[in-house]
Structure formats: structure tokens, C-alpha cells
Amino acid sequence: MGINGKSYIVGIYEHPCRAALDKTLPQLHAEIAKGALADAGLSKDDVDAYFCAGDAPGLGPINMIEYMGLNNVRHMDSTETGGSSYIVHVNHAAQAIAAGHCNVALITLAGRPVADAKEGKPVRYYNQQAPDFPFEMPYGPNVTNMYAMCAMRHMYEYGTTSEQLAWIKVAASHHAQYNEHARLRDVVTVEDVVNSPMIADPLHRLDCCVITDGGGGIVMVSPEVAKSLKRTRVKVLGAGEAPKHLAAGQVDLTYSGARWSGPKAFAEAGVTPADIKYASVYDSFTITVLETLEDLGFCKKGEGGKFVSDGNLISGVGKLPFNTDGGGLCNNHPGNRGGMTKVLEAVRQVRGEAHPKVQVRNCDIALAHGTGGLLGSRMGSATVILGNEAA
């Protein structure tokens, strides 16, 4: 059973805070739930399905359903694929609604890494029981150097340059200047990026995303419920999800799981990359965007460097406006999990409610893509394609 047209996104909320020193993690989740339901014109008693990932405390849905007093939940899902979880949740909610398991699904994400660090709380360590842990952790892998090795190999195989990667940050910064909540609002140049300090060769500081607190939420409903609401509805047209890993030692760092999640989403939606007017692409690092765009089919493998150059991702300038909220590179990367905010900006674009300076004209079809885990080892990839009522 496909999901095309069987569910709608009717409510979204992005928490405006970027440092949550005065808020607890469950509190952030609840504030987000309240905001998303208010946007939809629904109440908490309408919610019959709840979705959250590893950022939620305790046993995830169980603790959060109790905390928020969601009394009518009959379907729950705590799929955890890192930062891509929330796009997987959109897919799973669409499937559950299509199958008749629920009518009003609530998805929340919240995080407070900035506040936790200020309060001296220990960072959450990677699970030592993970089978790869004994063979990798002794070598000092971290988020940046594991993405950096992908960039290094992509440069080696395809001649991609640091200047080309820098264009991705430049485009994000052009959009972020209009977002009053963005963590970084200054427009930067290619020179600014390549002259920023090297963190892990070949990635510079400005190739990296921001670290922020906050979060976001989504309310998805059946077509019947959507029609009863006043809010502009955004149709879920198709979705795909895929794992990618080191394949027993056959390591290839030049592509992501988008190679598989993308085609599934496009096939279900019945559209091609040429039909996409706006794309939210997970941007933990510039290289994440570049490989993903290739894998989703916006350009040929290896030609991502050329594709992202010269402002091609800037709204109103280039062919593929991306991350018009400023993305994870400039706006927000709540809890180090950027999949949620990718969906939120895609919804704003389809609704026609992005900032006027970055709103894409006639944005009837948009895409959101998430990458969770590490591009340099194992990841969960998820793609969703959204459209307006006519799409």
C-alpha cells in the first residue's frame, strides 16, 4: 500500500530558542507539541499517534505521552536513526495513517546540547555495546573527521574543491540573513569559508553546522481530518528510507544512503528531480549536501561540486533553492539532529510561508532529506517529497 496522497502535514512548529538553559528536555518537547498542534488547529486530545526518537528521555514515547498527558494514543513509534529519524517518522506516520491505524500523528524532537555543556552534564557516549565500537573508538573518530574523510575521497575521485564545498555554506548564509532566529546571520563568502580554521582536513570551521538547543514538531493527519481544518495542507507524496554502512569492509565514502532512499521517494511520488522546486538537504557539513544532491539525482555522481557552485543553491538566483531557513549550517541543528528542521522549511515553502526574500515561486513540490549517524561509516538516510493540494 502506497502513501501518496493518503496523509497531510497540517501543523509545524520550530522552537525559537537556540540555548535552553532555563528549560528541561521534556518541557521543550511539550512546548513544541503545543506549538505544532496550535498551528494545525487541533488539541492534544485529538492526537492518536505519537512519534519520537532517541532524543526523547526515558523510554521515549512512554515517558513523553505521560508527561504531555496524551490520553488517546493508540499508535506509537520510537524509530531511532539519528538526525534522519524525523523524516523516517513522517514516512511511518504516513504509512500508519494510510493503513487506518491513526488519524492524527504528532512527531517531536528536542535537544539542549548547549545548555547541557554549560551545566557540565556529560555528553551522551556512543553505546559501547555497538559491535563496531571496539574496532573504531581507539582511533579517535569524531563527527568532523568522519565526514572529512568522505570529502577527502570525493576530492580525490572527482576533483571536488574546497571552494566548491564553500558555496554550500555561502548559499545557506544568504538565506539565514533573513531568519531572525538563525544562530548565524552574517552572509559569508567562499574566501571566508576556505580561510576559516581547518578543523579536520579538508573541512574548515565554516564547513561545519552550528550546535544549538531547541527542536521542532510536526502534526500529520488523514485526508478527512485535513479537510476539516482551516490550515493550508501539505500533501505527503512519497518517502523512502535506507541504511548505509561499511559493507563488511567494502568501504565507499563517495555516496550516501540517499542513493536508495531517494529513488524510492521519487517513484512513490511519481515525480523526478526536475520537478522539485525546493529541497531541504541535511547539512551537518558541506560535504553531506554535496554527496546527497548527487545521490538524489539532481546532478551526476561526481558533478556535485560544479552543481553547487556560483550560487546555484541560492533562492532567486540558482536552479535549486535549498535550506532557505539557513539550514543546519547557519540556522539551527537542535540536539545535533537536523532532519526535523528540514521538513519544517519544506512545509513552509509549499505553504508559501517561507520568508518573502527566500520564498520559491509556485513551490508546488518540495523535497526534504535527512542523514543520521556518520556519512563516513554508517547512517540512516530518509527522503520525503511533499506537495500542495494540486500536486
Binding site: Y139, G140, C150, M198, A200, V251, L253
Partner: protein, 130 residues
């Protein structure tokens, strides 16, 4: 994490990984191979990730390989080099490149295993210029 540091490295030694670390302590780089399908894999597992057979065993690798990709973690003191090395046996492993001039390291460079003391009699396989 730089293996040049004399700090003890907290290795996770469990029933599945113990022979690997015991091999490293004796100067052997072990990978796991499957008698059913004939393929090698890394990191080592009891059940073959290619064919799901339980007929797998540790075998000693030549210790020779080439750098598939690498990165220098500049903010660490001292900076260290993380890399994937593709072994001659055809599997790639995450590792460190040590005892090299950091700025001369290149993809495709031939490297050879060496063993860095990890404390408690254990050793960590790392690589240096061949």
C-alpha cells in the same frame, strides 16, 4: 587518541574481539574469513556478514595496504591522522597513520601495519609508510 601518546587506550575486549586483541599483542593483524563463501570481512564477526555461515575463522593479514582516505584532526593536541586503509586482502579498516610527516600523507599511499602499546599487554594496530 594519538597512538604516539603513552596513555593507556581503553580497549573493549569481549568474547568476540578477544582473539583479535591477543593477535595484535603478538604482532599479528587478524581479519576474519569465511570457509563457506571464501570471503574476508572486517571488523571481525562470528557469523559471516556475506553469507550468514558460522564457519568463520581469524586469519592473519599481510599487514600491507593503501590509504583509501584520511583526515588530520587539527584541533587535537597533538593533531592525529585518522584513515581507512584498504588491506591487500581487500577489506578496509579504520585506523591511524603514525610516524609520518602529516602534511605528506596522501590517498593511495602504501602503508604497513605496526603495533602501538595499548596497556595491559595489549596493542593497537596502526599504520605507517611502507
Amino acid at each position: 587518541m594519538n597512538t604516539d601518546q603513552k596513555n593507556k587506550i581503553n580497549l573493549v575486549v569481549n568474547s568476540e574481539s578477544k582473539p583479535y586483541w591477543e593477535g595484535a599483542a603478538k604482532g599479528q593483524l587478524l581479519i576474519r574469513a569465511c570457509n563457506a563463501c571464501g570471503k574476508a570481512h572486517y571488523y571481525p564477526r562470528t557469523i559471516c556478514p556475506h553469507c550468514f555461515s558460522e564457519d568463520t575463522a581469524f586469519v592473519e593479514a599481510s599487514g600491507n595496504g593503501v590509504i583509501y582516505s584520511y583526515s588530520v584532526t587539527r584541533q587535537a593536541k597533538p593533531p592525529y591522522v585518522i584513515a581507512y586503509v584498504k588491506l591487500d586482502e581487500g577489506v578496509s579498516m579504520l585506523t591511524n597513520i603514525v610516524d609520518c610527516e602529516i602534511d605528506k600523507i596522501r590517498i593511495g599511499q602504501k602503508v604497513r601495519v605496526k603495533f602501538s602499546e595499548a596497556g595491559d599487554g595489549y596493542a593497537l594496530p596502526v599504520f605507517t609508510s611502507a
